[in-house]
């Protein structure tokens, strides 16, 4: 069978860095997630796909505890003796444990300089700020000449890069990206995916929400599809790219991919 149809309660595979099982989430009375389960293996890139409004961003907010009521199980480093129950933490504490998130919109501090954006990123360990800025600028060199600029003046691609750089400043083990390619010109999109791969090569595990499903699966190791707040299809990305059901429902024609904003 090419794909498994996980319906809650995915088993924890060996060396998982993030394990989400049977998570429900709501905004007030609006129930958005109705039992979602995903695993992120350590060192991997996991793609989280699905149509607009299916609850992908809501799942990321639920993992982080941002502005959404959630229940279920969300464990960071689930196997170790010090498994961290993210449901008990505030967002800034999640970051302190080694996670970071780049939201889809509003992912920089526009009134601050690029340098200050990076400084805020390592607020948890200020002594190492300068060293970390050097390292992050090494990974994302296009920022090197922008450090003095006010972040509000950056272009879309530069903003996205700064958003990722800000998140890397806390040296996360797990980096979560919400549609990093949204709204960017096609040539810049390639650059963003290349950045993601480079970050992964340096040992960071990644969970990425994307609308550009084919491109994202091309760099991901594993993929999940959410629809209407539930798991639909999941599997290794090479298999998903060839699965007829997946192609028919979620990958569409080769040349036309759904855009989202």
């Amino acid at each position: 069978m090419p794909v498994s149809y996980a319906e809650g309660g995915a088993a924890i595979v060996s060396d998982t860095i993030l394990s989400v099982s049977d998570v429900r989430a709501r905004y007030g009375d609006e129930h958005i997630l109705k039992g979602v389960s995903i695993d992120v293996p350590r060192g991997s890139i996991v793609a989280l796909l699905g149509p607009n409004g299916s609850g992908k961003s809501t799942l990321l907010k639920a993992i982080y505890g941002l502005n959404v009521k959630r229940s279920g199980t969300i464990l960071f480093r689930p196997q170790g003796r010090e498994a961290v129950d993210l449901l008990r933490l505030k967002p800034h504490e999640v970051t302190a444990h080694g996670v970071n998130l780049v939201p889809q919109l509003a992912n920089i501090f526009p009134d601050l300089s690029v340098y200050e954006n990076l400084e805020i990123g390592s607020i948890g360990d200020r002594k190492r700020t300068v060293e970390r800025i050097e390292r992050v600028v090494g990974v994302l060199p296009l920022l090197r000449h922008l450090l003095r600029r006010r972040a509000a003046t950056l272009s879309g691609g530069q903003r996205q890069t700064l958003g990722i750089a800000r998140a890397l400043m806390s040296e996360p083990e797990l980096l979560i990206l919400d549609e990093p390619s949204a709204g960017l010109a096609p040539n810049i999109v390639d650059g963003v995916f290349a950045q993601v791969q480079e970050i992964n090569r340096r040992g960071v595990s990644l969970l990425i929400v994307e609308q550009k499903a084919r491109q994202c699966l091309a760099i991901a190791h594993y993929g999940y599809v959410l629809d209407q707040g539930r798991n639909q299809i999941d599997g290794p990305s090479a298999r998903l790219l060839e699965d007829p059901e997946m192609i028919r429902l979620y990958l569409g024609a080769r040349r036309r991919q759904p855009e989202s904003h």
Partner: protein, 301 residues
């Protein structure tokens, strides 16, 4: 000739006064904009925090005869403590109720503070123990001792606060939270815990601004700060809500514009009692042509 010379020196005098008044508006407006941007409260009691500061300074200066520096420090500590106390007792338990509800509560809070002062201190005008008739010639302007002290306070406090915002971790953290609260939280900042520091800064600056305003006016009563509340809120909007540097700049600009508008060569000079109208006109013009504030940026959602 003599008249022209006189007008020139009067203009310098007005600019000096405007900068001092502008510094008062800048310092208090900064506190109000941080509170608004970070704590999500338009604090209508901010003027009354100032008034309380003026009375604490009066207690220290006149009743207990301490020197002006000690009085200033005592005042700042007292109003910071008041602001922090009210944060924990009243505003923090009510957080999350929305900007309008919380702001309406501060209207009531201001009323209570004001009337408490009328009750305790009485309505008679008070003045500090400065010689009101002495004149010190600084070369370009001649000032009374009280004006000299407020000038010194303005010249030290505004750059000190600007440096704190620009270079210290607390300053950067507060600007980050005001700019993008969720992202600040994601970056590892305890955005709930930062409220304590915001109120310390806002309260301290309100107290300092209140004592300075009382000095500038010569006499004051329990309505001192309430009378300038509108100007403080104008400064917040002028600078862009939550924009710290915008409030500092907005306050200074508003102070100078209001003073210089009374200069006779400027359309015969606006009568002093209409100065707030000038502030109102500045606000309307700004809202028409630059609704995001001087340093604010257009916010997309």
């Amino acid at each position: 000739m003599l008249n022209e010379w006189h007008m020139g020196s009067l203009l310098l005098q007005l600019i000096y006064n405007g900068l001092v008044e502008g510094a008062i508006l800048a310092l208090t407006g900064l506190g109000a904009t941080l509170v608004w941007g970070i704590q999500r409260v338009a604090n209508f009691a901010h003027g009354d925090y100032m008034t309380l500061g003026a009375y604490v300074a009066f207690l220290l200066d006149v009743t207990w005869s301490t020197n002006p520096v000690v009085a200033a420090i005592g005042t700042v500590v007292a109003t910071a403590a008041l602001a922090v106390g009210l944060h924990f007792i009243l505003l923090r338990p009510l957080r999350g109720r929305g900007l309008v509800a919380l702001s309406l509560i501060t209207v009531g809070l201001g009323l209570v503070l004001r009337n408490a002062l009328f009750l305790v201190a009485g309505s008679q005008p008070r003045q500090y123990a400065f010689n009101q008739t002495a004149v010190i010639d600084l070369g370009f302007v001649r000032v009374a001792p009280a004006e000299l002290w407020t000038g010194i306070a303005a010249i030290t406090a505004v750059p000190a606060v600007a440096a704190m915002l620009a270079w210290t971790p607390l300053g950067k953290t507060m600007r980050a939270v005001a700019d993008n609260r969720d992202l600040a939280e994601i970056s590892g900042i305890d955005t709930d815990g930062i409220g304590l520091y915001v109120w310390i800064v806002a309260g301290a600056l309100a107290g300092l601004g209140g004592a300075m305003l009382a000095l500038v006016q010569g006499t004051f009563d329990p309505n001192l700060g309430f009378n300038v509340l509108f100007l403080i809120l104008t400064v917040v909007v002028l600078g862009g809500i939550g924009n710290a540097f915008g409030a500092l700049l907005g306050g200074l600009v508003l102070g100078v514009v209001m003073e210089v508008s009374t200069w006779p060569p400027f359309f015969g000079g606006v009568p002093t009692q209409y100065q707030p109208v000038v502030g109102f006109v500045v606000l309307i013009l700004l809202l028409m042509f630059r609704p995001q504030g001087i340093l604010g940026r257009a916010r997309v959602l």
